[in-house]
């Protein structure tokens, strides 16, 4: 069955801190409920820990490193799940159960299957 990436956009927080433990429980509940169709997923540290890498002039050129995420967005890109679903409707229904969707947003995108 096709795979979808569910990319979570939420408040830009450090999920390891105790004040977010309760919210994490909700994510764990989702993970347990959807275990049969989840094929992976990780939470990311906040965007302050991000580093953006570019190579100027193309392959082999100078590596330019800058502090921060690629894009400053209203909510921050904070994690992702890989979900195996029959079609987009199923993926959407599932994504709506991710806590990020309740206050932030979840972007659902089909994963390319290169055949092996």
């Amino acid at each position: 069955m096709p795979l979808y990436a569910a990319i979570t956009y939420t408040a830009d927080v450090d999920w390891t801190r105790p004040e977010f433990a309760a919210e994490l429980v909700e994510y764990n509940e989702f993970g347990a409920a959807a275990a049969a169709v989840l094929r992976g997923g990780k939470a990311l540290y906040p965007t302050a820990t991000a580093t953006t890498v570019r190579v100027t002039g193309g392959k082999g050129g100078d590596v330019v490193v800058s502090d921060g995420p690629y894009a400053e967005t209203k909510e921050a890109l904070t994690g992702f799940y890989l979900m195996e679903c029959a079609d987009l409707d199923e993926a959407v229904q599932l994504a709506a159960r991710i806590p990020a969707a309740w206050a932030g947003a979840v972007e659902v995108r089909p994963v390319i299957d290169f055949g092996n």
Partner: protein, 382 residues
């Protein structure tokens, strides 16, 4: 049809052709006694034609298809195929412009060039829009399916919204515009009729058709000799189409009876339109009823534009000051030309002329159509 032809594209083509023929022939021949049966027969005939044409590639296909045909596709199958097409075209994962373009192309049978002309978009752009939409359907796997019962009400409203968008494109087109564009109102009504025929128990479909008919009935009075739009208040109601109003009102009545416990936004909007269309004059409009209907609408779908329209009705019932207070309290419409135009009108009635002129200028700056801007200019100068 997919069962008979085993190929979604071919099935879609055949069903679409049958729909196109239905939409062309029914107004001429009158609706056939068994419309679904008619669609089955035509669709099958068309599919066989299509396969025969492509049989150059493989004579086996045509033969296999004949064998697969058990000799009588149930009408429910064709009805299902049409519904699937409609719900897929109008899937919320597609952008609104993509939904409108797909609906006109696939359900309306417009060519890509015709869709472009109708929507004032260059053909090459329209071709890209359609291709991207079909690519999204394929790559994201938007399912070719009638939504499950839980999703149906919301999805049906999305279909209605797309058809309403098509209607408004045609309605907003100025006189002298391409007839393919002004004809969009007729196209939207045809699609609404199709939706009612396919889902006769759904109040949303009946509400949409009623709403479109009740708007369309006023069209003969909408434009004056100079080609300028005539406001509802000034329209010559003797030019309204009485038969269309009758049909719309009957639809509203039936739909209201069906949804007494759970109002449907399209049925309610149609009820508001019926209040206007049944009034012998603007002054005699039952404004209290109109405001009440807006209250119902806002309770199920609180949108700023609906609030604006309610405020206009309150202004008629309680005077411009009351109306203006409500208009000013609506947030989020600062970029909406009609919000500024409403303010301009109410300020004018309150004799606050410099502010009215300001509001009029803001309306134009926000994109009020030229013909409406001219009408407003004349009004503010009076």
């Amino acid at each position: 049809m997919v069962r008979v032809t085993g190929d979604v594209d071919l099935a879609e083509d055949a069903v679409q052709d049958a729909v196109v023929r239905a939409l062309e022939r029914w107004p001429v021949d009158g609706v056939p006694a068994s419309p679904r049966g008619w669609l089955v027969v035509t669709a099958k005939r068309r599919a066989v034609d299509l396969v025969r044409r492509e049989a150059r590639r493989s004579g086996k296909e045509a033969a296999a298809m004949m064998l697969a045909d058990p000799g009588g596709e149930p009408p429910e199958v064709v009805r299902d195929d049409l519904l699937r097409l409609i719900f897929t075209c109008c899937h919320p994962a597609l952008s609104e412009p993509a939904q409108v373009a797909l609906a006109l192309r696939t359900l309306g049978g417009f060519s890509t060039a015709e869709v472009g002309r109708a929507l004032l978009v260059p053909e090459a752009t329209m071709a890209k829009r359609l291709t991207r939409a079909k690519q999204k359907i394929a790559q994201a796997r938007i399912p070719y399916r009638v939504p499950a019962a839980e999703q149906l009400p919301g999805r049906l409203r999305a279909v209605a919204a797309t058809i309403y968008l098509i209607f408004n494109e045609g309605y907003a087109a100025g006189s002298g515009a391409d007839v393919l564009r002004t004809g969009l109102t007729g196209e939207a009504i045809r699609l609404a009729r199709l939706l009612v025929a396919l889902m006769p128990d759904e109040a949303t479909a009946a509400g949409l058709l009623a709403l479109l008919l009740l708007h369309d009935a006023r069209r003969p009075a909408r434009v004056d000799a100079a080609g300028l739009p005539v406001l509802l208040a000034d329209q010559d109601r003797s030019r309204w189409d009485a038969a269309t109003i009758r049909e719309g009102v009957e639809l509203v009545g039936a739909a209201l009876r069906r949804t007494s416990d759970r109002p449907d936004p399209y049925v309610v909007q149609a009820a508001i339109a019926a209040c206007h269309d049944l009034a012998p004059s603007y002054r005699a409009t039952p404004w209290d009823a109109v405001v009440s209907w807006y209250d119902v609408l806002l309770s199920i779908s609180d949108q700023p534009v609906a609030r604006l329209n309610r405020a206009a009705a309150v202004a008629e019932r309680d005077g411009p000051a009351a109306g203006l207070a409500l208009v000013d309290a609506i947030e989020g419409l600062d970029g909406y030309p009609w919000w500024h135009a409403s303010r301009a009108e109410l300020l004018h009635r309150l004799d606050r002329l410099p502010e009215a002129a300001d509001a009029g200028a803001r309306a134009v700056a926000c994109g009020l159509p030229a013909s409406q801007a001219e009408r407003l200019r004349r009004r503010l100068a009076s």
